[in-house]
Structure formats: structure tokens, C-alpha cells
């Protein structure tokens, strides 16, 4: 069978979503919401189909890496960069996850955004959302299919842009819909944090180019695997600069701070970009750069530690959060820590495996959380209308409506409770996701997390212990969340009136739930069941699979169950009452205050970096540039010197005595001469002509006599 025609479809990965984007850009205002959503979902769906075909072709072709060139990009001297699609087992894995989960979320978003734009009275912005989503898919595809570090970087920044646009989708308000700078601040923060990471990426690219002569993956890896490069300061430097990029994109310490704020975006965005796909790009980057990291063991250790510390650190913060999405956000940071730690240790398969399963269950959790939030909004909406029926004046109605929204936060778990009965489908889906995240057998999360722990246990004991404790916290905060949201009594009227979401939202969730349950099957830790591992071997080379270890699995499962039990003791046995403080507050004291306030990291950054920079730039602009360069140097020194010179040196000495006198004399002389000559001007043209003729005659006479 000829596989070339399939590979030639590769550009569709990018162009299909771009087409969807353009169609919605041009016609989105005229089309109905269903059509807009369908077009966008279809575009994303085409990407998924192409990904499947490419995967199939790759498998059929024996896993040999295929490059599909599209066009020339930057060719300057020895710098040769092209738009080329790289199809290998690693990139197709990412493509499948991104386009698969992406398509499901597109479909879900049709239902979600339809209601969201109505709650926010901005129906016109429906199409814009799908334009951004398609742009994201396109950028993500560029990222995963790029054949060089720079094409990858295009996608890398592209998804950063989409993240900015989508976090700031409701740019004129905060998460509660009040007019505010909060959402746009969050968007800006995300972009800038990513840019800091990108700075590291760029420097790494420069180092690669000037030492390996290329930015194309294979050339770079060839250079990195040469003997002189192994563990040299150069490879360590490159990998550490890349780590900075990873920390920015995959929200690791110290740049993770943007991700929790990114929850300002609509929930499908949080699910797609800030949980399932974009944030895993860093993990992908490390896996992609495997030969580079293999050459720098020192860097590997640092990567693993970064991941492990982040995993634990973020998990502790998640315990102290009240916002349903914030809990999930910190959970994402924590899980990304797991993945980064895995790929850092060289356990690429484990890392990628966790990436895939995490994409399934975290997307499921976020989307379910979105369903919960909308359920509450619906309840709140009914409530508001019930109130308004009493009031007659339409003007007042709008006003009081806004007032009401100000006080109600549909994302706050303290406003929920008892949703199990009013939103049963969502409840069960949420349970599946939570169990998968907590790592309970036999859900997908169990298998992937177990594999990471297994590798850590063998090679990096410190990482193993950090991750195990993080896993304990994971189970605990998920338990806390479940009890607070779904059990007990409704703590607000809105929660009591909450309503289940429509099919367009729940059906994609069911697919994701199924994947969360069965996803573990991709790579079971038994001989012969390492499908994902063998698949990735095509790209990563021979992989050692650690044997299944019952103690590791047992310890983590036991810890998870214990954590859930403790959370039941605290939150399930005696459900939280409205207005009651968190039961952890008393026993933990200032520790819990730290968790609640994210250990004051944001405040620290403000004090150490952001405010000093603002002050510095203000100082440079006002004092140095304006007062010193502009006013002092230019206006005082240069202009003043000039004035001084002209006043003192010229005016007082030269001018008054020399030039002035001469000028006066000249004036008088001119006056006298003109008085005399003017008599010749009698005004008759003919006499002027006569004078001219006389001149001619005289000149001719002179010529004769000469």
C-alpha cells in the first residue's frame, strides 16, 4: 500500500483548523451559533481524522520517521529553516491527544458557550470563541509536528497567544462578571510568564545553532550525541535554558503562577489549554529533546527535582482553595510536576503516558466543573427571575440583576453542596475523573502515576518520596472537593435550584469518562502490554520497562484511600454549613493560611520583581530620560551653552564693536548710492532699451578697437 498520499495530508493538520477559523471570521456574525460551532468542531474533527490516518500510516510503515516538507521558511547563510511536518510516533501521539480531546471540547463548548454568552449578555462574542479555539488547534499542531526547534517555537508562542486571548476572553470583567481588569490581568500575566520561558528557549536555540550548526531536530541530536558534547557545560546549559522554557509553558516552579489565574478563561479553555494540551507542551519538549537530556545527566536531575517539588508544592496549595476551578488548576500544576519529573528522570514513556491519561481525566474534571458552574448559574438565574417578577420596572430589573450577580460566585465550592441529586450525570462523571486523578485502581490515572513512581523508586529516591506525598495530597483535595460539592445539603438557594446540563455537553464528557476508565490499557506494566512504550520506541530508541512492583502500587493506593478517608472524616461526615470556616483551619493554623493564600508567592513576585521593575522603568522614563536627557542635557546644557556662547562671546565683544559698526556704515553707504542711482530710473521702457543698445554699441566698439 502506498503511504505517501496519507503523509501528504499532513499540512491539513494546520490548514483544516485555519480554514475553520477563516470561515468563522468571515461569516461568523451571520451564521447561527450551531453552524459556527459545527464548522469549528468539524475543522478540529478533520485534524483528528488526519492524525488517525497519519498514525495508521506510520504504524503500517514500520514507525520510520517521515518528514513532509511544505515550504521554505528562513534561509540565511547556514541557517536553514523550513516548514516541515514531522510525523513520528511521539508527534502522532500528541496529535491524537490534542485533536481528539480538542474535538470533544469543541463540541462541549457549543453547549457551554451558548449559555455563557447569555449569562454575560454578549451574544456577539460566540463566534470569536471558536475562532480562537481553532487558532489554538492550529498552533498546537504546528508545535507538535514541527521538525526543528524553531518551528516548534512558532507553535509554542502561538499557543501562548491563544492562551492569552482565551484567558482574556471576557476581558472586560472578572470571573464573577463584574467590570474589572482582573481577567485581562490574568491574560497578560500568562503571556509574560510564558515569554520569560520563551527567553530561555531562544537562548537554548542560539546555543544549539552556533554549536551544532542547525536547529533541525536530527542534526541537533547528532551533535549532542557526539562524545565531546556529553555532560559538557554546553549541553547542560542548553538543557537548563530549555528547562526555563518548560517551566514557563508547563507551569513549573518558578513560573507556575500564571496557570491558576488562567482559570479566568471560560471552562472549555481551562480544560483544553490549561489542563489537557498546551501546558503539556513542556513535557513534550523534554521528551522530544531526549537525546539532548541524555547527554546531560546533571540537568536531568534538576528537571526531575523541579517537577517533583512543583508536584508537592502545588498539591498543598490545592488543599486550601475554595474555587472549584482553582483546585483543579493547582492539581494540574501538580500533575504537570509529575510528568516533568518523569521525563526529567528519563522515563519518557511514563511521562507521556501520564500526559495522555491526564489529558483525559483532567479535561473530564474541568468540563464537569464547568457543567457544575453552569448548573449553579442556571439555578441562580431562575432565582433572579423569580425575584424580578415581583418588581415591575424594567430598568430596575437590569440593575438589580447586576447587583445580584456581584454577590454570587457560582464557582465557589462554599456556595455548593448536595448537587448529587440535582446533577446526577455530572456527579457520576466527576467521580470517575476524581478517582482517576487520585490514582485509584483500575482507573487510568492509577497506571500512569504508578509507572512514574516505579521509575522514580528505581533511580531517584528523593523524587519518589516527594511524588508519593504529592499523590497523597492529590487524593485528599479531590476527596474534599467531592464532599463539598456534591454531598451534604445545598448551602445556597442557587445550589438547591441547580439544573443538569444538556446532551451536547454531557455526551463528550461520557466519552472522556470512558477514556479515563480505560486509558490505562494503553500501557499496562506487564510484559507484552507496553503498547504505548513500544510505539514510542520508534522515536526514542530502546526503552527499559521497569517490572511491576506491588509495593509501589500498594503504598500509593493505600495512601490515596487513606487520604480519601481523612477527607470524609473532615468534610463528608459532617458536611460544611453555610458560612462555616474550613475545618482544616483550626488544626493547621498558619499552615492553612499559607495554603489558602498560595504561600504568598504572587505577593512575593510583586514585591521582588514586578514592583521594582515598574519603579525602575518609571525612574528611567521620568528621571533619566525626561528630566536628565531630555530637559537637562538637551534644553539646559546644549541649548544653554549655545545661548551663552552667542550672548557672551559674540554679542558683547565682537558684535557691538566690530560687526555693528561695519553694518551701520554699510547701511549708510547703500542709502547714498541708491539715492544717486535712482534718478536714472525714469520708468520709460524705451529709455531702458536705449541704454541696453548703447551698451551693445560700446561693447562692439571695444571689440573693434581691441
Amino acid at each position: 500500500m502506498h503511504l505517501e498520499p496519507i503523509y501528504s495530508l499532513a499540512p491539513l493538520l494546520v490548514f483544516a483548523p485555519l480554514t475553520g477559523l477563516l470561515l468563522n471570521l468571515l461569516f461568523g456574525r451571520r451564521w447561527s451559533e450551531t453552524v459556527v460551532g459545527a464548522v469549528a468542531s468539524l475543522a478540529s474533527g478533520v485534524t483528528f481524522v488526519v492524525s488517525v490516518l497519519l498514525t495508521y500510516a506510520l504504524a503500517a510503515g514500520g514507525g520510520e520517521t517521515v518528514r513532509a516538507p511544505l515550504a521554505q521558511w528562513i534561509h540565511v547563510g547556514s541557517l536553514q529553516l523550513d516548514w516541515t511536518f514531522r510525523v513520528d510516533s511521539l508527534s502522532t501521539t500528541m496529535m491524537l491527544v490534542v485533536s481528539g480531546v480538542g474535538t470533544l471540547i469543541h463540541i462541549y463548548a457549543i453547549g457551554y458557550m451558548r449559555e455563557d454568552v447569555r449569562f454575560k449578555h454578549q451574544e456577539g462574542r460566540f463566534a470569536r470563541f471558536f475562532i480562537f479555539l481553532n487558532l489554538f488547534i492550529a498552533a498546537m499542531m504546528i508545535l507538535v509536528s514541527g521538525d526543528s526547534y524553531l518551528t516548534l517555537f512558532v507553535g509554542w508562542e502561538g499557543v501562548g497567544l491563544c492562551s492569552f486571548l482565551l484567558i482574556g476572553f471576557w476581558f472586560e470583567m472578572d470571573t464573577l462578571g463584574r467590570p474589572s481588569w482582573a481577567n485581562s490581568d490574568a491574560a497578560k500575566k500568562a503571556f509574560v510568564a510564558n515569554r520569560i520561558g520563551d527567553f530561555g528557549f531562544l537562548i537554548a536555540a542560539f546555543l544549539m545553532f552556533w554549536n551544532f550548526g542547525s536547529l533541525q531536530f536530527d542534526d541537533v541530536f547528532l551533535g549532542a550525541s557526539s562524545l565531546s558534547a556529553i555532560n559538557s557545560p554546553l549541553t547542560v546549559a542548553i538543557t537548563l535554558f530549555l528547562l526555563l522554557g518548560v517551566a514557563g509553558k508547563s507551569a513549573q516552579i518558578p513560573l507556575y503562577v500564571w496557570l491558576p489565574d488562567a482559570m479566568a478563561g471560560p471552562t472549555p479553555v481551562s480544560a483544553l489549554i490549561h489542563a489537557a494540551t498546551m501546558v503539556t507542551a513542556g513535557v513534550y519538549l523534554v521528551a522530544r529533546s531526549a537525546p539532548m537530556y541524555a547527554a546531560a545527566p546533571a540537568a536531568q536531575y534538576l528537571v526531575a527535582m523541579t517537577g517533583a517539588v512543583t508536584a508537592l508544592f502545588a498539591a498543598t496549595i490545592a488543599v486550601g482553595q475554595y474555587d472549584i476551578k482553582k483546585v483543579l488548576a493547582y492539581s494540574t500544576v501538580s500533575q504537570l510536576g509529575f510528568m516533568v519529573a518523569a521525563v526529567g528522570m528519563g522515563a519518557y514513556v511514563a511521562g507521556m503516558f501520564h500526559l495522555v491519561t491526564h489529558a483525559f481525566f483532567k479535561a473530564l474534571l474541568f468540563l464537569s466543573a464547568g457543567s457544575v458552574i453552569l448548573g449553579l448559574e442556571r439555578g441562580h438565574h431562575h432565582l433572579a427571575h423569580a425575584h424580578h417578577e415581583v418588581k415591575k420596572s424594567k430598568k430596575k430589573e437590569v440593575k438589580s440583576h447586576e447587583e445580584h450577580e456581584e454577590t454570587f460566585d457560582p464557582g465557589d465550592m462554599r456556595n455548593m453542596g448536595g448537587l448529587r441529586s440535582s446533577m446526577p450525570v455530572t456527579f457520576w462523571l466527576y467521580i470517575v475523573g476524581a478517582l482517576a486523578l487520585a490514582g485509584i485502581f483500575p482507573f487510568a490515572g492509577f497506571w500512569s502515576k504508578d509507572e512514574i513512581l516505579l521509575d522514580a523508586r528505581l533511580h531517584f529516591p528523593a523524587v519518589y518520596w516527594l511524588l508519593t506525598i504529592a499523590a497523597f495530597f492529590t487524593a485528599f483535595y479531590m476527596g474534599r472537593q467531592i464532599w463539598m460539592v456534591f454531598f451534604g445539603k445545598s448551602r445556597t438557594e442557587a445550589a438547591a435550584r441547580a439544573e443538569e446540563s444538556p446532551k451536547v455537553m454531557t455526551v463528550p464528557l461520557m466519552v472522556l469518562a470512558a477514556l479515563s476508565v480505560l486509558g490505562g490499557g494503553l500501557n499496562l506494566p506487564f510484559k507484552g502490554f507496553h503498547q504505548l512504550g513500544h510505539w514510542l520506541e520508534y522515536t526514542l530508541g530502546k526503552i527499559e520497562f521497569p517490572p511491576f512492583d506491588l509495593t509501589v502500587a500498594g503504598v500509593s493506593t493505600l495512601l490515596a484511600l487513606t487520604a480519601i478517608f481523612i477527607s470524609w472524616l473532615l468534610y463528608g461526615r459532617t458536611p460544611l454549613e453555610a458560612g462555616q470556616p474550613d475545618p482544616l483551619k483550626k488544626p493547621l493554623g498558619f499552615l492553612f493560611t499559607g495554603m489558602e493564600n498560595k504561600w504568598f508567592v504572587d505577593e512575593g513576585y510583586f514585591a521582588v520583581i514586578i514592583n521594582p521593575f515598574k519603579k525602575l522603568s518609571q525612574f528611567l522614563a521620568d528621571i533619566i530620560d525626561w528630566r536628565f536627557w531630555h530637559d537637562f542635557v538637551h534644553d539646559t546644557v546644549i541649548l544653554g551653552t549655545y545661548n551663552w556662547l552667542s550672548a557672551i562671546a559674540l554679542d558683547r565683544y565682537a558684535d557691538q564693536k566690530g560687526i555693528d559698526a561695519f553694518a551701520n556704515w554699510l547701511g549708510a553707504a547703500t542709502r547714498w548710492i541708491s539715492q544717486t542711482i535712482r534718478k536714472a530710473q525714469n520708468g520709460f521702457v524705451r529709455s531702458y532699451a536705449l541704454a541696453v543698445t548703447l551698451g551693445v554699441v560700446v561693447i562692439l566698439g571695444y571689440l573693434i578697437l581691441k
Partner: protein, 175 residues
């Protein structure tokens, strides 16, 4: 005395006579007509000098267009006589004196200082052919292209100037 010289002398006389006629006619219309005669004579000289194109231009542009313009203006203004007394009575004899001196001087200079006499032969047939005209055109549009283009701007300027001067002032357009 050859026939060529005879023709030249006769034509010269006509030219000088018509020039003087232009000068001394009381009526401006006569002056103009004398001048036309003078131009035509000069055109014939051009022919004998092997410049047929210039001769044609002379007749069409000068004798034709320019003089017609003169006549128009004379008719427009009325060929009026000068009634006012001459403001510069002493100028007239001085002018004659100068003119005669000028003539004498220049003739003397030409005869004594000019290069040895080139004999002007009558133009051959080739001079009056299209080929010669073509060559002249080539010179004009290649070597003298810039002056040629500048001439067009000059004519444009003259045209605009004439229109601006001659057109009626619209009421109120002058601020």
C-alpha cells in the same frame, strides 16, 4: 555676378525694405503685413540654406500663427494712433545714431574678424529629402530631448499665463 547672388541681393532688398516698412508704417496693420512679408523672405533664405523644415516652421508658426495673433490683437484694440506728445523727444535722433553705429560696427566686425568665407552652395536634392528630416528629428529627440521637454513646460506655462491674464475676473473671487 551669378544668378544666385542676384537672387540673394533682390531678396535681401525685399527683406530690408519690408523691415523698414514695418518700422515706419503709421498703421499697425500695415506694420504687421510688412512683417509677414519679411518673414516669408527669410523663409526663402532658409530654403536656400538647406533648412526646409525651419522654413516651413517659419511660415506656419511665425507668418501664420504668431502674426495672426498680432492681427487679432490689433483689431481688438483698434489700430489707434498715438495722440499724446512724445515724452522722450530727444530719444529719436539718439536711436537713429545708435542703430546706424550698430550696423556699421557689426558689418565691420563680420568682414574683418569672421572666419574665412565659406561659400554657401545651393542645397542638393538630398537636403530636402525625408531622410534628412528624419535625421534631424533623431537629433532633436535624442540629444536635445531635455530642452525639448523643457520647451513643452515653457509653452504650458505661457498658455496658463495667457489664460490667467486674459480671463475675466469673477466677481468676488479676489480676496
Amino acid at each position: 555676378m551669378t544668378s544666385e547672388l542676384l537672387v540673394f541681393l533682390v531678396l535681401s532688398l525685399v527683406a530690408i525694405a519690408s523691415a523698414l516698412g514695418m518700422l515706419f508704417s503709421r498703421n499697425a496693420i500695415y506694420s504687421a503685413l510688412f512683417l509677414v512679408l519679411n518673414f516669408v523672405t527669410v523663409a526663402v533664405f532658409y530654403l536656400t540654406l538647406g533648412a526646409p523644415f525651419i522654413a516651413m516652421s517659419q511660415i506656419t508658426v511665425y507668418a501664420g500663427a504668431i502674426m495672426v495673433l498680432f492681427l487679432f490683437v490689433i483689431m481688438l484694440l483698434g489700430a489707434e494712433r498715438m495722440t499724446a506728445p512724445n515724452a522722450l523727444p530727444w530719444q529719436r535722433p539718439l536711436a537713429f545714431l545708435l542703430a546706424i553705429t550698430l550696423t556699421v560696427e557689426s558689418v565691420y566686425l563680420i568682414l574683418t574678424r569672421a572666419k574665412p568665407d565659406t561659400v554657401i552652395a545651393a542645397p542638393d536634392a538630398a537636403t530636402n529629402s525625408m531622410e534628412s528630416l528624419r535625421e534631424m528629428a533623431m537629433t532633436l529627440f535624442d540629444k536635445f530631448l531635455l530642452p525639448f521637454e523643457v520647451t513643452s513646460i515653457l509653452l504650458l506655462a505661457a498658455m496658463v499665463g495667457a489664460i490667467v491674464l486674459a480671463k475675466k475676473e469673477r466677481a468676488g473671487s479676489k480676496s
